[in-house]
Each structure stands twice: as structure tokens, then as C-alpha cells.
Amino acid sequence: MTTYAKGLKGLSLATIVTITVALALVFFYAPLDADQGFIQKIFYIHVPLAIVSLCGFILGGIFGIAHLRTGDRRYDMRSYVAIHMALIFGVGGLITGSIWAKASWGHWWVWNEPTLVSFLIVLLLFATYQPLRFSIEDPERQARYASVFAIVAGAFVPLNFIAVRLAQQFVHPRVLTLTGGNLPGPMRLTFLVSLAGAALLYATLWKYEMAAKDARMQLRRLRRSLVGEDAVAPLRRSAAPS
């Protein structure tokens, strides 16, 4: 079993359990919001997705630093998967955020919610990660440039949030401040469990993808050493690290 597959079963189980508990809490335990009604509950999905996504981007940047410092290509793979996953979670966060906006303020998009706006900008930036990788053919260079991008973009995330927040005049009360929020008890519990669920889901999916890619690479290596260099068709130009 490769290193990534180790513990995967346990992790998956923990994830499923946590998510189930979270969903149960969301539907049965958390109180109904007085102003917004049932649809407010999407908050428990939207915010965890968004938070995990942002952490994923920063994680990608950290792996990028590790890659450039050590030259170990596996860090590049980890960075790629982290960013890739974070982007997916991010799109999910954006969509649920839009639904929440519609429910709360009547519009599918609002410009005076700074976190939503910053998030959009970050997603626009990271959406260029894969096209960037795809357009560099030499795998070594691709990995190196991707790491540079991951580092710059990862550092950009906090900077962007600060700038956008300062640019807004917010009319709407902030539900979540940096200190953890002014959520009443039952809501807080539900939120934290949902957050844990999202984080575990991210970790599990990350491991899954790493394990799959790792296995594929090992297979290619084995085939190459058994059958010879030329028998194994070269990988098509791709965005994924090899």
C-alpha cells in the first residue's frame, strides 16, 4: 500500500460519520433563523466550503515553497492536488454563497459582501492555475512555474481579503468575525461540526487523488522498466504533474 492509501479507510469513515452528524444537526438541531428561514441553513454548507477552500489554496502555496526548496517533485503533486481540490470546493462555496445571497438579500450576487467578492477574485486567479500548467510543456519547468504561481497566489489570498474588506462599506451585519463569531450556542455547534466535516472531506478527497496519481505513476515506472523506454507511450501534454 502506498503511503497515501494508508489510513484512507479510517479517514473516509470518519468523514462520512462527521458529515452525517453535521447534516443531522443542520436539519434537526440548529434553530430556524428568524429573518431568513430555512434557507439560512445553507450557511452551514457555504461557509465551511469557503473556509476549507481558502485553506486549501494556502496549503497549495506551502507545498509550492516545499517543492522549490527541496526540488522534490512529490511536493509539486501535493500542491497541484491541494489547489485542484480547493478550486472545486471554492466553486461549491461560491454557488452556495450565491444561493445564500439570494435568500438573504434577494440578489444572486451582492457586491457589498466583502468575503464573497474577495472569494470571487481568488477563484478567478486560481482558475488560471491549470491553463498555466497546461501551456508549459517541459514537465520540470511546468512544476517549477506552478510552484511559483502557487506561492504568489497563496500569499495573495490574505492580501486580497484585506483590500476588498477595506473597500466595502458594509451594510449587512457580519455573522462571522475573525474571533469566531457571534453565533448562539446551538448554531455554533452545528457550524463547527459542519466545518470539521468539510475539512475531513477535503483531506479524504486529497488523499484519494494523491493515491490514485501515485499509483498511476508507479505503474508507468514499472512498465517502463519492464518493457523498455519506447514501449510506454509518452504522456500527452497535460496539466497534471508527472
Binding site: I151, A163, V164, L166
Partner: protein, 223 residues
């Protein structure tokens, strides 16, 4: 440092000789002003609106320069020539960013009067010092991020596309800072001093990206 100056001299000489980048930027800006006039359909532009038009135009014009910044190096072996020399690699970053800064200043010297004439924002003359201060910082942001993005983009296949696509999101905080700082200056009753908060944000942005660029640039050049 001396190395950077040598490279800068060469780049400015090349630009003077070939005259590609700066005229294109100027022309683009002028056309953009005309387009904005028709798109917005007003006699004069006030305050934040004027600032927005100016900032957006500068940003997009700088993309033209960014796309061309390293092309000569890539196509005529300039990278190799530089890499063969026993010099600090970051000199290239410094030199190219400085060149971009110079192009932007030249652009602004021509575009600002044009802006005043075509779109008639009030009190442009009175707030000139404040404007210059903001643009000095904004140019720095554009130069640093532009050079970094250009260096990344020049090695890819979709060169002209990747540059703006990566650069523009990265520059949004700088855009916000610049536009918000200039906005109050172009109001009818402007005081002439740009809001300190936005100058600080621009400065912070410049510092962060300067450090980032300095840290990662070497990795873009090595093989």
C-alpha cells in the same frame, strides 16, 4: 545593481530603436478614453467615475507592455546571454521592472493631459501632486507584478493570453487602492490630498509583492 543598469540601458535603447511598446500603450489609452466617453455618454466625468476610467485604462494599457516585456529575451536568446554572465539573477527582475516603470511614466505624461482634455474631470490640475503620488505607487505595483507575470508567461505557449489572465486578478487590490485614492482627488471640490488609507494599502501591496517577486524570480530563470 550595475548589472541592472546595464540591462536597463539596453532595454531602453531597444525600445527607442524599435518603438513598439510605448506608442502602442499611448494609442490604446487614447482609444480607450474615446470608448469610455461613448460608453458612458456624459459631458464630464466626476470623482470616482473618472478615477475608475483612468485606473482601468492604465491597467489595461500596462497589459500591452507586460506582454512584450520579455519577448526579445525569449526569441533572440537574451535569456541565455544573461544566464551565461556571472551576475545576480535578480538584476533582471530589477531592470525589467524599472523599464516597465519608465514606460508607464511616459504613458502617463501623455495620457493625463489627454484624459483632462477628452473626459474633463474637474480639478485635475489642483490635485496633480496627489495624483502623482498615487500613480508613483500604482506604477510600482504594476511594474513588479507585471514583470513577474511576464516572466511566467513568456515561457508558456499561450504567451499573450496567460499574462493578462494571471496578472489582472493579482492586480485587483492595487486597482482598488489606486481608484479609491484618486477618486476624491477628481471630485469637484477636491482638497488635493489623497486619502492616506489607500496610499498605505498601495504601499503595503508594493512591499509584499516586491518581496515575493524577489524571492521567487530566480526559480523562473533556472533550468
Amino acid at each position: 545593481m550595475k548589472t541592472a543598469i546595464a540591462i536597463l540601458r539596453k532595454d531602453l535603447l531597444l525600445e527607442l530603436r524599435a518603438l513598439e511598446t510605448v506608442p502602442a500603450m499611448v494609442l490604446f489609452s487614447l482609444v480607450a478614453f474615446v470608448i469610455f466617453h461613448f460608453a458612458l455618454d456624459r459631458a464630464t466625468l466626476n470623482g470616482q467615475l473618472a478615477a475608475g476610467v483612468l485606473t482601468a485604462t492604465l491597467l489595461l494599457a500596462s497589459m500591452l507592455a507586460i506582454n512584450r516585456l520579455f519577448v526579445a529575451e525569449r526569441e533572440q536568446g537574451g535569456f541565455d546571454a544573461f544566464l551565461l554572465a556571472p551576475v545576480d539573477r535578480t538584476a533582471l527582475l530589477l531592470a525589467k521592472a524599472a523599464a516597465l516603470y519608465v514606460y508607464l511614466v511616459v504613458l502617463e505624461v501623455i495620457a493625463m493631459p489627454a484624459f483632462a482634455v477628452l473626459l474633463r474631470p474637474p480639478s485635475l490640475g489642483a490635485s496633480l501632486p496627489g495624483l502623482v503620488a498615487v500613480l508613483a505607487l500604482a506604477n510600482l505595483a504594476l511594474s513588479i507584478v507585471g514583470t513577474l507575470v511576464s516572466a511566467i508567461a513568456v515561457q508558456t505557449r499561450a504567451r499573450d493570453l496567460i499574462g493578462p489572465v494571471i496578472g489582472l486578478p493579482l492586480l485587483i487590490p492595487a486597482l482598488i487602492g489606486t481608484a479609491r485614492a484618486i477618486g476624491p482627488l477628481l471630485n469637484s471640490h477636491a482638497s488635493g490630498a489623497p486619502p492616506a488609507k489607500w496610499l498605505l494599502i498601495l504601499a503595503l501591496y508594493d512591499v509584499v509583492f516586491a518581496l515575493l517577486a524577489y524571492a521567487v524570480f530566480d526559480f523562473l530563470l533556472e533550468d
